[in-house]
């Protein structure tokens, strides 16, 4: 499965790895919904670290769409909240 970390690029991950990532992903969503800035930052960092650790970077000239997309490491809770709205921050 291909995952994009915004601002960093894409990595390919083995599907078997997703149990750990899904748990963190659910925690991230809960932190966003609760407006918990500290929990959001901590969970996002953990999630990004896990994806970088477990994934294999895709070459720059690949043209693959990503199955999953993660915010950039310096994204704020408000930015991510806006991105999750259908017509949020994402251009296009």
């Amino acid at each position: 499965m291909i995952v994009r970390i915004m601002g960093e690029g894409q990595v390919e991950l083995d599907n078997a790895r997703f149990t750990e990532l899904n748990t963190l992903d659910d925690q991230l969503l809960a932190a966003i919904q609760a407006g918990d800035e500290e929990g959001f930052r901590r969970t996002l960092d953990a999630l990004l670290d896990a994806v970088r650790r477990l994934g294999e970077p895709l070459p720059d000239d690949s043209l693959e769409p990503s199955e999953l997309i993660l915010p950039s490491p310096d994204a704020t809770l408000e930015e991510v909240r806006a991105m999750l709205r259908d017509d949020g921050l994402i251009p296009g």
Binding site: L21, D25, L29
Partner: protein
């Protein structure tokens, strides 16, 4: 409800599909998208240049603030040497306020450097993807059949659209940060221009400097001379300035005149 990763993926894909669905002939979409990609590349390069310009401006201001900070430190020393602890304290207070400005600017400088590096890498990656897209586009157009078009175009188009969305957002964020810093840099320039901070030409004199000049007869040479006298006599500059010597009460001494033994 799915988590953040999946939802963001869906949003990106939905945007790409919406654009593709609007096209009557997918080959036109490819050409149109390619033009958009080239425009974005230009925008990213402009973004890198803008950030670099702001970074250089910050560096100039940092240098200027450091220079001013050193001046206040020197004034503090000079004031102390002249026995004016009140002036020295004032000079050091101003220096402390400047150092705070310097610290803030250094943080922003680091942030700008980070933005510059990120955008440079994004620009290189986008360039590689745009090149790959151009090749793919030409291949698809050359071997075009309606049946294969949807699948091939869909994948290539989704891939590049996602990259464009990501890079477009990065450029937007960098522009916002640069704009904020420009405003701040402008405010600092105004401070420098108004004399609240010394002007870079060094022609304007602040009140501390004016007082120090008055105290030392307007001459650094005079102060240096007093300090040297004090050092030679093993006393403090202040005593030397007051005409005293260690362990000596201040009495008027006859001026040393050359004496010749008359034979």
């Amino acid at each position: 409800m799915s988590g953040v990763m999946k939802r963001m993926g869906l949003i990106f894909r939905a945007k790409a599909n919406k654009a593709l669905d609007r096209a009557e002939d997918p080959r036109e979409t490819l050409d149109y998208s390619y033009q958009k990609q080239l425009e974005l590349l230009q925008k990213v390069r402009r973004g890198v240049a803008d950030v670099a310009t702001s970074r250089k401006r910050l560096e100039l201001q940092l240098t200027e603030l450091q220079r001013k900070s050193t001046t206040y430190e020197d004034q503090g020393r000079k004031a102390l040497a002249l026995g004016r602890e009140d002036l020295a304290r004032e000079a050091l207070s101003r220096r402390a306020a400047l150092q705070q400005q310097v610290s803030d600017l250094e943080v922003q400088h680091t942030q700008l450097q980070g933005e510059e590096e990120k955008l440079t890498v994004a620009s290189q990656r986008l360039q590689a993807k745009v090149d790959a897209f151009r090749t793919k586009k030409e291949t698809i157009k050359a071997t075009y059949t309606a049946a294969q078009a949807q699948t091939q175009i869909g994948e290539a188009f989704s891939g590049i659209s996602e990259e464009m969305g990501d890079v477009g957002l990065a450029v937007q964020r960098a522009e916002d940060k640069t704009e904020q810093l420009r405003a701040r840099a402008g405010a600092l320039d105004e401070l420098l221009a108004s004399g609240a901070l010394d002007d870079p030409s060094g022609l304007a004199k602040d009140d501390i400097q004016a007082e120090l000049d008055r105290l030392s007869g307007g001459s650094d040479v005079e102060l240096e001379l007093q300090k040297m006298k004090a050092e030679l006599a093993g006393g403090s500059p202040q005593q030397a300035i007051e005409g005293g010597k260690p362990g000596q009460t201040s009495q008027s001494q006859p001026q040393d005149t050359p004496r010749f033994d008359k034979q």
